[in-house]
Each structure stands twice: as structure tokens, then as C-alpha cells.
């Protein structure tokens, strides 16, 4: 597949060759879009709440990757989910209550983790989403343990930095040894805070996982690629998908250091310009932005 830098440059300049050619129906497209724009609108509201100092704890926005869980959970149903920080969109895409997530971020007892987890430790048994301790990457071996003991399908999400933790790599190996039904997802935004992958390591996570016997795919972040890889690998577990994303904001908080490497949302939307879906996507976007706005306007604090 080439180096991490090569792949990202290709995605950026539009020369990346898709591996999957998923034919999504209009209904599927609008369904994913609805979740995507709601996630994005929700995160915009979170950013505003941080600016307004209504949220006073470190918060990790999923700006730029709101569509990743929307695409994954378009395919995956009934999985246990173990994520870490930057997981607001996972919670929402899995069907978590936006009101409860809002309250969690506001530190209220009515939050999905009773206001104790904040942005980084979202938890909700109702949607099988398990909390995170704050120890980067520990969700991966813990997810493997859950999968081992329960025998139930499990998905765990990490970043390109936590994927470097030695215990994460050992967890890949154990999952392969035991042939566990677990899907590892790496959201690769190329950054550990601001340190790039090429500065930190000379290896790719997919190569390492493959060497353990974990089927692995390196993909860009277009919904079709994510859905294609997920469909293929969800029947070949254990497996790993490394999804190259462009982080839309700072590691924590609401700021940016300039435009992202690419803007998947704009690319996606522009691909339907002039089609019959164009107006429908715009209407959905307006509806979901209003919905997110209303949710935040009705907050108790």
C-alpha cells in the first residue's frame, strides 16, 4: 500500500485508488448522511459550549471523523464497543441518547456515565458501549478479554498513537491465537497530539497486525471504502481496519491549526451535486443541525 505519507498524499490530491466499489442505495446514502451531519452538528455545539465555558473539562471532538462510526455501524450490529477519547460520534452513531451525552459533557448526573466520565470515558450499557479508563489503548486488550469471555462480537477503536502501545500489539496476537470475533479499528489521523506518524515509527499497523494473523486493510475515509472493508472483514474476524482520516481540530478543545488535509464532508456532498439527491441531502443537513441546536438549547445548564 505504500508508506503512511504516500497514502495520505494520494488521498489529499485525489489520486487514491479505491479498493472497494460499494454501490450504496439512495436510502443508505441518506441514512449515513443523516448520522454524519448530526454528529458534526453535535460536535459544533460542543465546541460552542467549550467556548462559552459551559463545558470546563478536556473534551475531544471527532471533527473530521464523524462519518467513520456512521459508516461502520451501517454494517455492524449488536457488537460490544470499546473506544477511548474522541468517541462522541461513536456513541451517537450507535444509537446513544444525545441528551445523555450532552449532560455527560456538562458533568451532570443525568449523563450517560453519570457525569463522571466526561468526554473521554463515555459509557452506556444500553448500547453496549463500555467506558474507558483514560489509559491510552487499554480498551484494546480489555475488549479482547470481553470477547474471549463472552464469545460475543466486539469492536474496539483506537488512534494511530494508542495503536503503538505494546499491549495493543500483544492483544492483536492473542486475538489471532484464539481466533476471536473482534474487529480492531484504527482511526489514523497521523497525529499523536501534533507528532506525526513518520516521526514516531517506521512500521504500519496493518503490516504488524497481518503478521500476527489478523486480516487487515488500509483504507481512506470515504464511506464506501469503510463500508466495503467492514463488510469484507466482519466475516473474517479477528480483523483490523486502519482508516486514514483528516483531523478537523485540535487534539483537545475546539480550535484548529488551519484547514484539514482534506474535507471528506465537502467531497462527499459535492459528489452528489446535480443529482437528485442534492436537495435531499441539504434538507437532511438542515434538519439535523436544527435538532442538534435544539438539544443543546434545552440543556439544564
Amino acid at each position: 500500500m505504500g508508506s503512511n505519507r504516500d497514502i495520505r498524499e494520494k488521498i489529499q490530491n485525489g489520486s487514491y485508488q479505491n479498493q472497494y466499489h460499494e454501490e450504496l442505495s439512495d436510502r443508505e446514502i441518506t441514512s449515513i448522511w443523516r448520522k454524519w451531519v448530526f454528529n458534526q452538528a453535535f460536535e459544533s455545539q460542543v465546541a460552542k459550549a467549550i467556548q462559552d465555558k459551559r463545558i470546563y473539562v478536556p473534551s475531544y471532538l471527532s471533527m473530521g471523523s464523524e462519518h467513520v462510526p456512521a459508516s461502520l455501524f451501517h454494517v455492524l450490529k449488536g457488537y460490544h464497543l470499546f473506544a477511548q477519547h474522541r468517541a462522541h460520534s461513536y456513541y451517537l452513531s450507535l444509537g446513544g441518547s444525545p441528551d445523555r451525552l450532552r449532560d455527560e459533557l456538562l458533568g451532570l448526573e443525568t449523563g450517560c456515565a453519570r457525569g463522571r466520565g466526561g468526554s473521554a470515558s463515555i459509557h452506556d450499557p444500553a448500547i453496549r458501549m463500555w467506558g474507558h479508563s483514560g489509559l491510552m489503548g487499554d480498551q484494546v486488550p480489555i475488549a479482547v478479554g470481553m470477547c474471549l469471555a463472552s464469545g460475543e462480537k466486539t469492536i474496539t477503536v483506537m488512534g494511530d498513537a494508542s495503536g503503538e502501545e505494546d499491549y495493543v500489539l500483544a492483544a492483536f496476537g492473542f486475538a489471532a491465537t484464539k481466533k476471536l470475533p473482534i474487529l480492531f479499528v484504527c482511526e489514523d489521523n497521523d497525529f499523536s497530539i501534533l507528532t506525526k506518524v513518520e516521526t514516531r515509527r517506521s512500521w504500519s499497523i496493518t503490516d504488524v497486525a497481518e503478521s500476527f494473523g489478523v486480516a487487515s486493510r488500509e483504507v481512506d475515509d470515504s464511506p464506501g471504502e469503510i463500508i466495503g472493508a467492514t463488510k469484507e472483514l466482519s466475516v473474517r474476524l479477528p480483523a483490523l481496519i486502519n482508516i486514514n482520516i483528516a483531523r478537523g481540530g485540535w487534539h483537545a478543545g475546539y480550535g484548529t491549526d488551519g484547514p484539514p488535509e482534506w474535507n471528506r464532508m465537502e467531497r462527499f456532498k459535492s459528489s452528489y451535486l446535480g443529482t437528485q439527491l442534492e436537495s435531499e441531502l441539504s434538507e437532511i443537513e438542515e434538519e439535523e443541525r436544527d435538532r442538534a441546536s435544539n438539544i443543546w438549547n434545552s440543556a439544564a445548564v
Binding site: 487499554d138 480489555i142 478479554g145 469471555a149 499491549y167 492473542f174
Partner: protein, 306 residues
Amino acid sequence: MKTAEVISTLTEELIRNHKGLVLGQCLTAVGWVGGTVPKLPEDPGLIELSMADVAGGSIAVGAALSGRRVIYIVRYQGFMWYNAASVVNYAAKSKDMWGIPCPILVRGIAMDGSIGPVASGVSHAMIARMPGIVVTAPMSGSEWEQVYNWWLNHDDPVYISESRRSFELDEGMGNTISDNPVATLIAVGAARISAEETLALFKTDSINVSNFGVVWLKPLALSSELIESVRQSKVSVVVDSDYESCSMATTIAHKLQQLTGRRVDVLGLEERSAGFSRESDNTTPSSSTIHNYVLKRLETENMVNK
């Protein structure tokens, strides 16, 4: 039954009757962890982990999170420095944070000497440092069973600080309560063996000494007899197989001082790394070390009180 047999029997009962899981490294190797693991090589309840300690501890925590009862065996207690990560950061916090219990029972097994700089001694103080986990140090089979039953009937994670020296014990380790004690020994884990041996030396000296073992380290359980004995004694010493600094022994001594207003001393490993050779080893205070320490302290007390 010897302690090892009790542990093995209860472990088998957990697998067979409670759908329990037992995870660890080299469980089925020669010796079956000192005879404490039931010989069930094909049983799916007995899971061999890879040699990756940090991941192994986290996998065991994830298994316990599923609602199944999990015993996680760490063959060298010094390796808890690796294995503790998710035990204390996830299992111990889970109920507090998310209302979800993670009832893992961790057996950290200490060697006593000849095991070098990493794996020697015990490190239960490190585990007790964190909230949300019960820490114990049973020695006899009945004490181990008491801890096991408590764990089975509660949903908290429990740490058992074990000593290989306990495995061969085939009788209980009672307390020795003397009338008008001059000194009180309060011992933890393998130090209880040394403390018990010391009693014969004090008998020769015609010095009345009481000796108590402490099993429940966190929450700390101290009997009224123990507290009263400290109150009556000129010298009291807490003895443990851990270092003295930031230790359970120091915590126990501090608590006793608060309860009695009397000075309580601490005796543990020397403040240096252990080596493999006999000369450089660093082991649980021996009976003679304890004996000499108490005599010296009594001498000081008598001089002060003259």
C-alpha cells in the same frame, strides 16, 4: 489440607460450578503453579495467556467485565508492576465510574529470596495505593478460603498477595496473645512465619510477646485484641515482606498509632535492590532480625523510662 490444595480445590470449583475463568501464564506447566491450579489442561475455563504481561492483565480485566468470575494468576508478584495497569485503572474504578462491577480475583505470588531484583518480595502496597480494590494476604488454607468466599459473594475486585511459602502450610496460623505483653508483633504474609519463629526466642528470654497476623490489608481489619495488646506493650513492630517506605506496614503502624497513642515500628525489606546471590539477596526479615530489633527497642525504651 495444605494451602495449595485448598486453592486448587476452590479454583476447580469456580471453573466447574460458577462458569469461572482462570487466566495466566504457564498455568499448565510442570508444577501447576505450585500445585495451586487444578490439572484441567483441556478445560476451556483454564486459559493460557501469552507472555505479554500488560496485555494479559488487561485481557483478564475485560473477561471479568463480562460478568464471569475471573481468577488471574501472576506467577511472580514483582511482575505486578506490568500487570497492575488495568487491574487498578479499570477493574478497581469500574463500579465507581460506571456502576459496572469487574470482580476479578488477582493472585500475585511472591517468592521469598533467590529471585533477583524484579520478582523478589511482595508489592501489595502498590495495589493498595489505588481506590476500589480489596487487598489481602492470607497464608493458611482457611484464610484463603475466607477471602475467596468473600470475593464470590461480593462484586469488588480482590487482590491476594500470596507467598510460595504458604503453599506447604497445612495448618492455620493463629495469633498468640500473651498476658501483660512487653512486645507485640503484627505480621503480614510470609513475615508471619518469621514472627511465629521469633516467639521461641522470646520465650528463652522470658519476655512476654504477643503475635498477630493481618490478612485484610485494605480495608484494614485490626482485631480489638491486637489493638489492646499494642496499647499494653512497650514495643510494637509491624513486619512485612515489602519495603518499609510507602508500605502496608507503615499504613498499619500509622493506624495503630492513631488508635493507641503508642509508637509502632516497622520492619521490612532493606532499602536496596535485591540480587540473586545469597549475600545480595533481600528477604523477609528473619526471626533473628525481628528478635534483635525488638530487644534493641526494648533496651531504648527501658533507658528512656529509667
